[in-house]
């Protein structure tokens, strides 16, 4: 009898996690036929489970997460083959939360932990950009100062290290597992063959990478320097109650950032200033030493965690002092995008109003003349005191109450 196997992919963000999760979700039926469970009835099922496990508030979404981890674990426990759980915020789980998670799979489960990792020189700017896309207004230099402070004070530094410090994440998640059950998938350099990252994931999942290669449009695209600066300025204007979280998600993050501004590929890209790059290079070397010493299963090569050497004379585009012409161009693109969306929504509204009017006319015809007369009398009571007293008397006779004030 084969042992139940549970693979928990715990991050890190910006390492192809959205792509992998979309691929697994879309193929979940085919995967199940092949003996692998990806237990999700909605795309963000594992995200909700992670919110539940870590008691995390997330702009109101957490109310949909009540009991989500236990439901997920129950599905996993019932499955006889391999089950996969994947979400990048699991990286921040504390030892107590990890213990609860691992216990929830049952004593007979062979648990494997998987962390996908990318070099810090690419991860740090990407993390700041994610912060900006989640309504933060912190500047780039201020962010870098916070995360490079050894004291790691404050929410930004806590979150960054929680989801990006590879050896510590594996220490928390893998401390009770033999090293061969702890897998590090490294993200290949930018010029690597397309599909290589998925091949590495698939080898850990025990899947044939060629069998699950449908195209997916769900990815987490990056923005250029002026576009990120623009979103940060928008945040400064719409935070504090101007735009609700669900509206921000729809219009700023999805519509503007992901679907439009990310297409401006000619803009200068975010990078680390030289001093922070040097710090990140040293830290990467230390992490590689720790990972080698721990003997984890590395899929790819730890060389991938070494930053690609900088160009001879790299030009650092500072998002705290961006080229204002480029920001203005990005702003115009944003205005046009929002105008198109406003026009589209207005067309939808007109259509709905027409439907509503047609339904109202149909209803009136069905109700007949007596209803229309009564309605006219009720409307008259809003302006004529005599009609109002008559209506109040009539309602008292019928035992109806006033609407609450």
């Amino acid at each position: 009898m084969t042992r139940r196997k549970v693979i928990v992919h715990v991050g890190a963000p910006k390492t192809g996690t959205s792509y992998v999760q979309d691929l697994l979700f879309r193929n979940r039926e085919a995967l199940a036929e092949a003996g692998t469970l990806y237990p999700a009835d909605r795309f963000d099922a594992h995200f909700l489970a992670a919110l539940d496990l870590m008691e995390l508030q997330w702009g109101g979404l957490e109310k949909q997460a009540v009991g989500a981890w236990d439901r997920l674990a129950e599905q996993v426990s019932r499955w006889e083959g391999t089950a996969i759980i994947s979400h990048e915020i699991l990286a921040t789980a504390t030892p107590a939360q990890v213990l609860r998670a691992l216990d929830s799979f049952g004593p007979d489960a062979e648990v494997h932990v998987l962390l996908s990792a990318r070099d810090l020189v690419r991860q740090i700017p990407a993390e700041w950009q994610e912060n900006v896309k989640h309504r933060r207004t912190v500047g780039y230099r201020e962010y870098l100062d916070k995360i490079t402070d050894p004291a790691r004070r404050g929410a930004l530094a806590s979150w960054f290290w929680g989801v990006q410090e590879v050896p510590d994440i594996l220490d928390r998640w893998g401390v009770m597992l033999p090293p061969e059950q702890v897998h590090v998938v490294t993200v290949p350099p930018p010029d690597a063959p397309r599909g290589l990252l998925w091949q590495r994931f698939a080898s850990v999942f025990g899947l044939d990478p060629a069998a699950f290669t449908i195209s997916t449009d769900r990815h987490n695209p990056s923005l250029g320097v002026p576009e990120t600066a623009l979103i940060r300025r928008i945040n400064e204007r719409v935070n504090n109650g101007v735009l609700a979280n669900e509206d921000y998600r729809q219009f700023v993050r999805e519509l503007l950032a992901h679907r439009n501004l990310s297409n401006r590929a000619e803009s200068p890209r975010l990078m680390l200033p030289p001093d922070v790059r040097s710090w990140a290079e040293k830290l990467s070397e230390m992490w590689i030493d720790v990972l080698v010493a721990r003997g984890y299963d590395v899929v790819g090569t730890l060389d991938d965690l070494r930053p690609v050497p900088a160009a001879e004379d790299p030009v650092f585009a500072d998002p705290d002092a961006p080229d204002e012409e480029l920001v203005a161009e990005a702003s115009l693109d944003a205005v046009v995008t929002l105008l198109r969306e406003a026009a589209r929504l207005q067309a939808v509204e007109h259509g709905l109003r027409e439907d509503l009017d047609a339904l109202g006319r149909e209803l009136d015809r069905a109700r007949g003349l007596w209803f229309r007369v009564k309605r006219r009398l009720v409307r008259a009571a809003d302006t004529h005191p005599l009609a109002a007293r008559g209506l109040a008397f009539y309602r008292r006779l019928r035992g109806r109450r006033l609407p609450p004030g």
């Binding site: 919110l51 539940d52 870590m54 008691e55 995390l56 508030q57 957490e62 109310k63 997460a65 009540v66 921040t92 504390t94 030892p95 107590a96 939360q97 050894p150 004291a151 790691r152 929410a155 806590s158 979150w159 290290w161 929680g162 410090e165 050896p167 510590d168 220490d171 401390v175 504090n240 109650g241 101007v242 830290l283 230390m286 992490w287 720790v290 109040a392 008292r396 109450r401 006033l402 004030g405």
Partner: protein, 401 residues
């Protein structure tokens, strides 16, 4: 301490000390034992200790326990301590910080920096404490919110109460206790106006009691930026609505300062011969700023732990277990004070021009700016600790749900 003591064994002994209700700080504990401890070796990799936040929370619980020993037996305190040590703080915050062991290399390069628990910010202790409290409440189970007695009311006693929600709730409960139940056709309307900053604080407290996890500063800031008032504080709009229904002469504006001051006016409008005795409101109830902030943070955890219907009952359970507050006033953050003064003037002007009977001085709607501009964190922590101990007592007395 013997010469064989290691930093880890010193820490383990401290943990046992705390579990037994001990209150010595880690710094004092280390100072008393450091001479006997050998330096930590790089090869030392002891089993995991609880995080600094959990350990300091247990020490604070021990201090609270020592100050007001209730009905909680010593063994039950240890069980409570174990629950605190075995869970992490909910939501966002610092990670589980390792204890700064004596002689340890503080420049160790992987993981969060080792920390003296005594140096943790109060907010972190509150976060850990609220997580523990949520666990205890979920185990204790919900209690239903009480409701005001309802009975059919004669038309000549019909009345409707609105305005400052906590004051309104108290007056409603007091009149109900005297047999005057709100409702009925063509009512006399009584609007309770308070100094505007206190009125807004009542609205914030009400929303928190109903499950919203919004901070006071955020709540006040949102309305100030919109230059608008929450519906229950927008007295001109309420008065105008009712005036259109029943006539301005039957919309009474009572400028008051709490239930006791408002009750005689309300009783006169409602037509009771003698003012009833003040009773505690049912929903919402008056809470201190610190107690409201505790509930706010509790909402954040319960929103992801239980469904809405259960959350309300657990919050009610927590309210029942809160130690009595001192009713400290809550002022608006300084940057919003000009705005409230302008808004209060406008409210007074519009009410004055509306032709409504006014009981009291409309000038007293002006904000007082009394009290702190935010709930005091140390007060919140004290409440969390006391409420945890009281909730744990339920298990020993069998009074839980």
């Amino acid at each position: 301490m013997t010469s064989a003591a290691t930093p880890h064994s010193v820490a383990v002994a401290w943990v046992e000390h705390l579990r037994a209700g001990g209150t010595t700080s880690w710094a004092d504990w280390v100072r008393d034992t450091t001479d006997a401890v050998r330096p930590v070796a790089a090869s030392d990799r002891p089993g995991r200790l609880p995080g600094a936040g959990q350990l300091e929370l247990v020490r604070r619980l021990g201090l609270e326990y020592a100050e007001s020993p209730g009905r909680l037996p010593r063994g039950s305190f240890t069980a409570l301590a174990d629950r605190a040590l075995g869970r992490s703080g909910p939501g966002r915050g610092l990670p589980d910080l390792p204890l700064a062991l004596p002689g340890a290399d503080l420049t160790s390069s992987v993981g969060a920096p080792p920390t003296d628990p005594g140096s943790l910010p109060v907010d972190e202790l509150i976060r850990h404490g609220v997580g523990l409290l949520a666990d205890l409440l979920v185990d204790a189970g919900p209690v239903p919110w009480p409701s005001v007695r309802r009975r059919r009311v004669l038309a000549r006693h019909a009345f409707h109460l609105a305005g400052a929600p906590v004051t309104t709730s108290g007056v409603r409960a007091s009149l109900a206790a005297a047999g005057r139940v709100e409702g009925g056709w063509s009512p006399e309307v009584v609007l309770f106006a308070e100094p505007l900053d206190e009125h807004l604080a009542q609205v914030w407290s009400t929303r928190v009691q109903h499950g919203v996890p919004v901070r006071w500063e955020t709540f006040a800031g949102r309305w100030a930026r919109r230059d608008a008032l929450p519906p229950s504080a927008d007295l001109p709009a309420i008065a105008s609505f009712w005036a259109a229904k029943v006539g301005a002469a039957r919309v009474h504006v009572v400028v008051s300062d709490g239930v006791e001051a408002a009750l005689p006016w309300a009783a006169r409008v409602v037509g009771t011969r003698r003012p009833p005795r003040p009773a505690l409101g049912v929903d919402p109830i008056p809470l201190s700023p610190a107690a409201t902030d505790l509930l706010r943070q509790l909402n954040r955890v319960l929103n992801v732990r239980v469904v809405e219907a259960a959350r309300a009952g657990l919050v009610r359970r927590a309210i029942d277990l809160l130690p009595g507050g001192d009713g400290t006033a809550l002022a608006l953050p300084p940057r919003h004070r000009d705005w409230t003064e302008r808004r209060a003037e406008r409210v007074a002007r519009e009410l004055g021009a509306g032709g409504y009977p006014v009981h009291g001085d409309l000038a007293r709607i002006a904000p007082r700016h009394a009290g702190a501009a935010a709930p005091r964190r140390p007060d919140v922590l004290t409440l969390v600790l006391a409420t945890c101990l009281r909730t744990a007592e339920l298990e020993t007395t069998g009074a839980g749900g």
